[in-house]
């Protein structure tokens, strides 16, 4: 479903070119889950951005769902994200002018894919049923993150890319959220590629990989 070959990415910085990804290759099966580990600054977020088509690599191929990303233009990339990829970030703006309920449905509305039963399941499992009418700024950060997760999953994307989704929650609630999250990803039938710093989080996943010196290796 996702196959990356020989990916090369560097950034021009004041001190000169910094090579972040150096010939990275990686494949991922449908409905699988992978934890992406690595030191800070090793390029984890960069890799996620490249997969989501938010940034461009200097060379190498990313093939997602049978399509070469490098051949897609801006609107085709937007369309791909809209229907098949969800992103969950540590810092994720909900739409401040829409209610929690509307926020949950937002991406599903964009791609016109609704599953009412799954929606009920998401709301129940994430404990959002009493919050539906509220506006995002009335929620705590943890609650906001759970809304973001519901939004990312409702339309059942092929791939969920998560970048330290529980990074700003305390340990206890992190673990709780993570358990529900991975479970729901499974119910949605999506694949999950998640950046995390914690080995403990990685145990929720089927496979763990380490990003080091611009390449990936299984651990």
């Amino acid at each position: 479903m996702l196959s990356i070959k020989n990916l090369y990415k560097s950034f021009g910085q004041p001190g000169g070119e910094v090579c972040v990804l150096d010939g990275l290759s990686f494949t991922m099966q449908a409905a699988s889950s992978v934890a992406l580990l690595g030191e800070s600054g090793s390029g984890k977020s960069t890799l996620l951005h490249l997969i989501a088509g938010l940034d461009k690599s200097q060379s190498g191929d990313i093939e997602f769902s049978g399509k070469q990303l490098s051949t897609l233009n801006e609107s085709a990339l937007a369309n791909m994200r809209r229907h098949q990829i969800s992103l969950v970030f540590q810092q994720f703006h909900l739409i401040s002018t829409l209610s929690v309920f509307d926020n949950i449905r937002f991406q599903a509305a964009l791609c016109q894919r609704f599953d009412n039963a799954f929606e009920t399941q998401l709301i129940d499992r994430l404990g959002l049923s009493s919050l539906l009418k509220k506006l995002p700024h009335q929620l705590s950060r943890g609650q906001q993150q759970r809304v973001a997760i519901a939004r990312a999953l409702l339309h059942k994307p092929k791939l969920v890319l998560a970048d330290e989704p529980t990074g700003n929650l305390d340990e206890q609630s992190s673990l709780e959220v993570m358990a529900v999250f991975t479970d729901l990803v499974k119910s949605a039938g999506s694949s999950l590629l998640m950046v995390t710093h914690s080995k403990e989080m990685a145990t929720f996943m089927q496979r763990s990989v380490l990003l080091h010196n611009g390449r990936l290796s299984d651990i």
């Binding site: 951005h49 940034d55 937007a78 791909m80 990829i85 002018t97 937002f106």
Partner: protein, 840 residues
Amino acid sequence: MKQAILKALLSHYWRHPWQALFLLLGLTAGVGLWSAVQIINHHAEVSYAQADSLLGVQANYWIRNRSEQGIAQADYIELRRAGFRQIFPVIEGQVITPDGQLISIIATDLLALRQSMPEETVDQTFNGIDNWLQLVQKPYRAWVPQQLADEFALIQGDQLQLRDGRQLPPALIQAQTQQGRRIFMDISAAFTLFDTDQFNYITVGQLTTEQFDLLTSLLPDSLALVQNQQQLDLSELTQSLHTHLSAMSLLSFAVGLFIVFNAVRFSLWHRRETLMNLRLMGVSVKALISAILFETLIWSLIGTVSGVICGLTIGNWLLPGLSQSLFNLYGATIDAVIALQSETLLLAWGITLVGLLWALAWPMYLQLKHDVLDANSPTLRHQAENSSRQQLALFSLPLLIMAFILFQTMETAVAGFALLGLLLFAAAWLLPTLLALGLKFAQACVPKQRLIGRWMVSDGWSQMPAFRSAMMALLLAMTANLGVGTLVDSFRSAFIGWLEVRQNADIYVNSSQSNIVQLLESEQAPGKTSLWLADSHRQIGITTRWQDQPTLVNGADTRAPDSLRFPLAQWLGDTPDDALALWRDNSNYILANEQLHYLGGLKLGQTIQLDTDQGPVDYQVVGFFYDYGNPKFQFYLSYEEVAKRWKYHYSRGTALWLKPDSTSNGPSSRQQAEKSFLANGINRADWISQDEIRTLSVNIFERTFAITAAMNSLTLIVAAIALLASLLAIMQERLPEFAQWRALGVNTREQFLIICSPLLIFVVIAWLLAIPLGAVLSWLLIQKLNIVSFGWSMPMLWKMAPAWQLGGLVLVIVIVTLLLSLLQLRRRLPDALAELGELS
């Protein structure tokens, strides 16, 4: 420490040069427009003070013919022989260019003038003329101010062609003080040009008491020595126009301040963290306040300097328009070169400082007062936005009440403009609440299931804070545009309609000589049927002062066609015709212009007393007539009455109605009339046809309002800048958010729509509000302000077409600013996408 705080605060502007630019732009635009008007108003005042001088020679008195018949050269020579060196003969006249522009000519004895001047004045006046003798020798020179030369594309030595085929002497292009739009020449050149051998009047410089007595005793009976009161009259008469301009400039300043507000809002948003960190680091509130004050001071200095520089430029640009208006309305001339007064500079700095304290220092102080940690909370921000909206709406109430009280008591133009200001600001402060209501309404209109549609509309809540001040600026600019536009349109239509009634004769003959009288007598001799003349109307008049204001008393032929259709605004009796019949049949009834009613306080039916040669005589006012464009008081009596009461009356010209052309192929009535004129020694320059005089009048009208139009477009441009500033600020502030949306798969089209839709809703609401507000503004301008300032009443002519046009124009402005800001977004989005997900 202090330095570190300042550096921390000010570094914001390095990182966001756009915002510094907009802050500067807002200040410059506001201060610039304000000071431009201040500078030219002051400039005009200085010019009025010199209004009694000609080519640097003071004219304290005038010698005039009591019946305005002109002064014979012999009389002048006599006086000079008696030793008067401070008297100069003047010929004043007007000529018309082929495209119907009126130019004033003023001529004097340059030789005598030069001899009487002190050395420095000679150098100053004749500076740069290599051979000044060419001025007084054939073919003479026409001394043309630079501005007129540019207008008519004249270069040194060109001879300006006139409508009737005459030519002015070769041009000598050089500006003189007090020249205004007039062309100077030597008296001999004017004799040829106007085909006359008489002077219009003689100006008289300083006189000792003995000289005064001697001069009075030397003057023949038909001549009078009158004191020159022009300076007094001019400052009195033009006051209203200057008040109008000042009011418009204050409006521009307010609109400029909105840009500042906007830039400040953005800078606060960006610096809240800096402020918070500084406080967490233990910097005292007091130190922060002094830093903020220091920042305000710096900006006020920068803003004043750049604003005043810009004001000088705008002033120079507006000056031709103003001098046109002043000349057309009041016959006042002002200098072509403006200078900056130190008091203007100080005043400009003062208002900039006050404006900045209000727009920059106060909001920063409020931000400081919030709890240290809470300043950043979105919930608080949300609440602050709501409550500031409500506060503004609440503040607008006392403004409205004050406006209402002023409305009841208003008597001066200044009070009138204060009322307009209160009203406009009340409306501007109500606008955010209206925008909020409009947004709620729009949200209710989108069906529940259309989530994406609802999102686009609801995003307006996030854009509201950024657009608030820009929308207020836009509202003010649009309202002013519609209000002033309607005023000008109403005036134009009333004026043209009035011209049609007042100037409905076919030809006007200005010749004051007796030849027109002879011609008429022969054409209208009993038993003779004229081939071309249907009717005629000869008017006479005298100038006097009433309530110490220059006043004209006209004598009209009460049975002439135009007297029968006198356009009355108010009258005694049931119909205007009743009042006119009274006036016609009774020599102690008088007609007065509206100015006498509104400015002079005259009432219908009131009895007034005029000083005549036979002592005071009582007249009863039976009607007030429209007298547009005239700053002076004017009465109408019958011809016979004026001729009987005042010995030295003068001719006010003769109106002629032609017979319809006969069907046979002979010469037209007009051709026959013109033939008879020439045969009777009436020059081509002495008559003017109806078409020509209408074109002339309409030209004058359009030029008079040129400055208003210019101020109107400038204000709109400032509002457009405010809009652009807001949009760019939104692009900057919300970039991370926009990037997140792109990550969710929102495409370019949807992104565009979401930025556009709320903006369009806001603009439409502001536009919808501007329409009734513009109508109210124009109603106040027409029915109240115009009357207290000029004494002219007119029906208000409200049309929707200008509102639609303005809407179209604003739409174009919105589209252009949107495109500019979207370009900015496009440039910056890739970086924002790459930074997505990081904690800011």
